[in-house]
């Protein structure tokens, strides 16, 4: 589905990623892990075609993503951004309905199909009772879930998510991770930048670790998310947690 080849990402004075070959196939669920400033957000933006890499290429189904129209890309690739301008004045329902934009919604008048899809999406993220509430009055966690509802309405084949668990309480973290796992199981490709290796190990089948050296490591989670690799990644000592079905590492006390 999405293939990146020889990717080089840099910010002034620093190379973030050097020589990443990455392929996200339908049904795969990827975690992108790394310290603050490691390039997780930049990588997701490049994969979405929203930022040009300093080197390398990104192709969607064999065609360069930069050469495709934005609308064509938006039908296949959706992204949950870490930050969003908060000047939207409408309701949570209207916010979610904007996900229909790439699918040529009715330019005039009501759009019952988009409204139905948005109501179902809001229910999916536990916001059914907030449809008529102004978006700007939602809490941080509710806004995060409204953004996910918009992505559900957009219904892309490739989901790129920058910190999907930000602002969410534990219960909603579980619900959102189950939703993303279900999407991957249903044939979508999911790539998410996370700060919690625990969630990566439990939900994702593949992971990319972005090291300060700029040389990333990637592979199946059970091979990549080891104690050694994570200690090197985050620069802190870890120890395995007992009584967990998935390998979990906690900071040493």
């Amino acid at each position: 589905m999405l293939a990146a080849s020889g990717l080089r990402l840099a910010v002034p004075g620093r190379t973030l990623i050097d020589g990443l070959d990455f392929f996200a196939a339908p049904g795969q669920c990827w975690a992108v892990l790394g310290k603050n400033g490691a390039g997780k957000t930049s990588l997701l933006l490049v994969l979405a075609g929203l930022r040009a890499p300093e080197g390398g290429t990104v192709a969607l189904d064999g065609a360069m993503i930069a050469a495709r129209s934005r609308r064509e890309v938006a039908r296949r690739v959706g992204i949950l951004l870490q930050d969003e301008t908060e000047s939207f004045w409408g309701t949570a329902l209207e916010y979610a309905m904007l996900g229909r934009l790439p699918h040529e919604p009715a330019p005039f008048g009501a759009d019952p199909a988009a409204e139905r899809a948005a109501l179902a999406a809001l229910a999916e993220v536990d916001l059914a009772g907030h449809a008529a509430q102004p978006y700007r009055t939602l809490s941080g966690g509710e806004r995060q879930r409204a953004r996910l509802a918009q992505l559900l309405v957009q219904s892309p084949d490739l989901w790129l998510l920058d910190e999907p668990l930000a602002h969410l309480d534990l219960g909603h973290q579980v619900a959102v991770m189950r939703l993303l796992a279900r999407l991957a199981a249903g044939g979508r490709a999911v790539v998410m930048a996370l700060h919690e290796p625990f969630w990566a190990a439990r939900v994702c089948d593949h992971a990319v670790l972005l090291y300060d050296s700029g040389r990333p490591r990637q592979g199946p989670t059970h091979e990549v998310l080891t104690q050694d690799h994570l200690e090197a990644l985050y620069g802190c000592r870890l120890e395995p947690a007992a009584a967990a079905s998935t390998p979990v590492f906690l900071p040493t006390s």
Partner: protein
């Protein structure tokens, strides 16, 4: 609730137009007024209602609608709640042209031509300096517009200081907005129809732009083309409004805000409602300006602010 609000806005338009045809320095008896509206009445009544008041009311409505639509577009485009048509410096450019024409004692049509040239020069300078050379950057556009406006303001101040006392009154009326010479509303209506059609086609993309340019692009919006089209529509609307009525403030600022605070955010509804509300507001304000102390006329721009400020403050006070 929103349906009631929309109905109130739509109902305000015919009421404002009817008031504009009813009130004036000459009072017509009600039966004569109705006869005149129905196509009858005395020659003098027909001249007053259809020859004088109707064209001015139509012009006021179109100008108000143009300013409100321009303000709505600019507030999204510049992601700035303080954006209104005057922020681009276009009104300032037109003011410099018009006042220069008055200072030189030129004929009315030449003053119009100079105002158009000034507005066009300001819009062109903004496009060249802030958009075309370096790509779209809202801060650069805003600052360039503010700088152009300040430069024009300085030139206007100089001309006011140099002008003979007899000319200053006319200049001040032009600067504060004046519809007394607006007897040909057709060009403003044609421009309004074109601008509104263009804006309506952009409406969904403008909704996405309120989420930021990155999110809008991720939703498939061609951001640069949308911004350019919205900017062009706003600039054309501003120029058209300024050409008819001079520099009228506040309509383009207050109308979009009032409608958003009243719950309208979807641009497919917001833009046409802004046109109707802006048209009704300016028509009502102009009626007040020319009839409150007739035969004396107040500058309509001062009246729009006096009417609009309490409305906006009341809406802000009850909004979380």
């Amino acid at each position: 609730m929103r349906r009631v609000g929309a109905a109130a806005v739509v109902a305000a338009a015919p009421l404002a137009l009817a008031a504009a045809l009813w009130f004036g320095s000459v009072s017509l008896p009600a039966d004569e007024w109705f006869r005149t509206l129905a196509g009858g009445g005395a020659d003098a009544s027909r001249e007053i209602v259809w020859g004088l008041r109707a064209p001015r009311a139509a012009a006021a409505f179109a100008v108000g609608a143009l300013l409100a639509v321009a303000g709505t577009l600019l507030q999204v485009l510049l992601r700035n709640p303080l954006a209104d048509p005057s922020i681009l410096g276009i009104s300032g450019g037109a003011a410099v042209g018009a006042l220069a024409g008055m200072l030189l004692g030129l004929h009315a049509w030449a003053i119009h031509g100079l105002a158009l040239a000034g507005a066009g020069a300001a819009a062109g300078a903004l496009l060249a300096l802030a958009v075309r050379l370096t790509g779209w950057n809202i801060y650069r556009v805003l600052l360039t517009g503010v700088a152009l406006g300040a430069g024009c303001g300085a030139a206007v101040s100089l001309m006011l200081a140099l002008a003979p006392a007899a000319q200053v009154h006319g200049m001040l009326f032009w600067l504060l907005g004046d519809l007394s010479g607006a007897q040909q509303p057709l060009p403003a209506w044609v421009t309004l129809a074109a601008v509104l059609a263009c804006a309506q086609l952009l409406a969904l993309k403008l909704d996405a732009l309120t989420l930021g340019t990155l999110k809008a692009r991720s939703l498939g919006v061609a951001v640069g083309a949308t911004q350019s089209a919205a900017f062009l529509a706003a600039a054309v609307a501003t120029v058209a409004a300024v050409m008819v009525a001079g520099s009228i403030g506040f309509v383009g600022l207050v109308v979009p805000h009032a409608l958003r605070l009243a719950g309208f955010s979807d641009h497919r509804r917001l833009l046409p409602l802004a046109a109707v509300a802006g048209g009704a507001l300016l028509t009502a304000a102009d009626t007040l300006a020319r009839s409150a102390a007739a035969p004396l006329e107040f500058p309509v721009g001062a009246v729009t602010a006096l009417v609009g400020v309490p409305v906006l403050l009341a809406l802000l006070a009850r909004t979380r």
